[in-house]
């Protein structure tokens, strides 16, 4: 279990206990947190689960795959800390993680 803080673009905060093994995307979608669409359900096929990872967590959330990198290249408002949240697996290490959502996923 890891406590993850999801912050919507408008600033609304949601603190959720997410089960280890799920993705950061699944933690949001299964709890009906607005701002992450995840149209493909986690297949790294759509880039609609874009989040900004708080800088202090970038090491622990790991490296982007080439696939994820290419998908993100064409997403809107991409920043150096942009990730596809379906590609971040939740571990105990990520307890306390903070991610922020972009204005739109489409």
């Amino acid at each position: 279990m890891a406590k993850i803080t999801y912050i919507e673009h408008n600033g609304a905060e949601h603190v959720i206990d997410v089960k280890t093994g799920l993705s950061v995307m699944e933690g949001a979608v299964k709890n009906n947190i607005p701002g992450i669409d995840a149209d493909c359900g986690g297949a790294c096929a759509c880039a609609t689960c874009h989040v900004y990872v708080r800088e202090s967590w970038l090491d622990k959330t790991g490296e982007k795959s080439a696939m994820e990198e290419s998908m993100l290249d064409f997403a809107e408002n991409v920043e150096p800390n942009s990730r596809l949240s379906c590609q971040i697996k939740v571990t105990d290490e990520l307890d306390g993680l903070v991610v922020t959502m972009p204005e739109s996923q489409h």
């Binding site: 299964k30 493909c40 359900g41 297949a43 290249d73 489409h106």
Partner: protein
């Protein structure tokens, strides 16, 4: 307006998402979500892919946990069939005779797999794949020493063939057209996927009519072809399309034309009734025509349309239709529809399993089909939406990055 709220008929990916979005967008009146299947809304795409191969469990497929529905004030009724819609009274009638009133009705009834009306179609082991229950039945027939005959070389058939190989079963794909994917992809893709599957042990029968399923002791044992040959097998998957499940809508007098006809906010010919997903025929503003799309992305876009329309939220920008397929280690993504395309352009090398096919009308991209080429898919999808002319020579030149092409 009364406080009857929203009734959603069809608790699949589209219906479940519409219910959740209505609550996200602040809708306060009752929501009743009625599904024929015994399960809460779940994702269907993995049923032929990760789930079939044993890489995803049932829990991973569910859209929301069971506890979500009562917590969100959504009355989820599973295993329930809606018998009729009564638009004048604004009620739906269940097959049990119960009636429920609505202010807005959302039809998300999806599609039903087409069955073949040929001898032997009712033998045990002649299967289709749409629901989790279908997938369970299929999986029970797959494994080492088993042989599956897939009738229909579309996405479902090819994904099942790939998953069957991963489970150690033999697979033969039988297609009535001269090439697989004839209805949904260009010839370059057909050739590529034929070769990729063949190299992994799948055999093909193309331009082949299926005249009967033949069995022993009530179970299927072979597929009889038009030329008289019998293709021996232990199980058959029929994947020959899925017509819209629009019967209840048509009987209620809603305009249907190969799907329930809706407008850009997913409204049917009755202003209180919406329809979303595979069951609809919808406008495609980018191409200025009506079309029936069968994809999760389409169902979710229309779920957003209807949730916006009902809550009075500004409608979202039109999306470029897209879909994907996973086969073996291939990530295949495609966007747009090649309506009126007059030029086909290949970027990359199909023999290296990393390429994209672009369909252009003049210098404007209408559609892209991308194999292990996420930048081409994403860049292509962006350009399709922008309707912006590009330089075809640069698009075909892999030394020019997709970022530069799109710049």
């Amino acid at each position: 307006m009364s406080d009857a709220g929203v009734i959603i008929v069809g608790a699949g990916h589209g219906g479940g998402t519409a219910a959740a979005l209505l609550r996200q967008y602040g809708y306060q009146a009752p929501i009743r979500l009625i599904g024929e299947e015994p399960l809460a809304p779940y994702q269907r795409p993995p049923l032929s892919k990760a789930w079939l191969k044993g890489e995803a469990d049932a829990d991973a497929l569910t859209l929301k946990p069971e506890s979500f529905y009562p917590e969100a004030g959504i009355d989820l009724m599973t295993g329930v069939r809606v018998e009729a819609i009564e638009p004048a009274a604004k009620t739906v009638r269940l097959e049990t005779g119960e009636r429920y009133a609505y202010d807005h009705l959302i039809l998300a009834t999806g599609a039903k797999p087409r069955r073949l009306g040929i001898p032997g179609a009712d033998l045990d082991g002649v299967l289709t794949l749409r629901s989790a229950a279908d997938a369970e039945a299929l999986k029970a027939h797959l494994g080492p020493g088993k042989r599956i005959a897939v009738v229909g070389g579309g996405y479902i058939g090819l994904e099942v063939a790939a998953s069957a190989r991963a489970l150690g079963a033999e697979a033969v794909v039988i297609e009535k057209e001269p090439r697989i994917l004839a209805r949904v992809a260009c010839k370059v893709l057909s050739d590529f996927f034929t070769g990729y599957h063949a190299a992994r042990g799948v055999t093909f029968e193309v331009s082949a009519d299926v005249t009967a399923f033949e069995g022993a002791n009530g179970a299927v044992a072979g597929v009889r072809l038009g030329d008289g040959r019998l293709i021996a097998c232990d199980v058959v998957l029929v994947g020959v399309g899925a017509p819209p499940d629009d019967g209840v809508a048509a009987r209620a007098g809603l305009t249907c034309d190969g799907g329930i006809v809706v407008d850009g906010e997913a409204r049917t010919s009755d202003p209180a009734i919406f329809a979303i997903g595979d069951v609809t025929r919808r406008p495609m503003p980018l191409y200025q025509r009506m079309f029936r799309l069968e994809s999760v992305a389409n169902a979710l876009e229309q779920a957003r349309h209807v949730a916006c329309a009902i809550t009075g939220r500004a409608p979202p920008a039109p999306e470029v239709t897209w879909n994907w397929s996973d086969q073996y280690d291939i990530k295949y993504q495609f966007a747009g529809v090649p309506f009126d395309a007059d030029q086909v352009l290949i970027r990359g090398d199909p023999t290296q399993a990393k390429f994209a096919v672009f369909h252009l009308k003049g210098d404007v991209i209408q559609a892209v089909e991308a194999v292990n080429a996420p930048a081409e898919f994403m860049g292509g999808r962006l350009l399709i939406g922008q309707r912006r002319p590009i330089d075809p020579a640069r698009l075909a030149d892999v030394s020019v990055s997709m970022k530069e092409v799109a710049a």
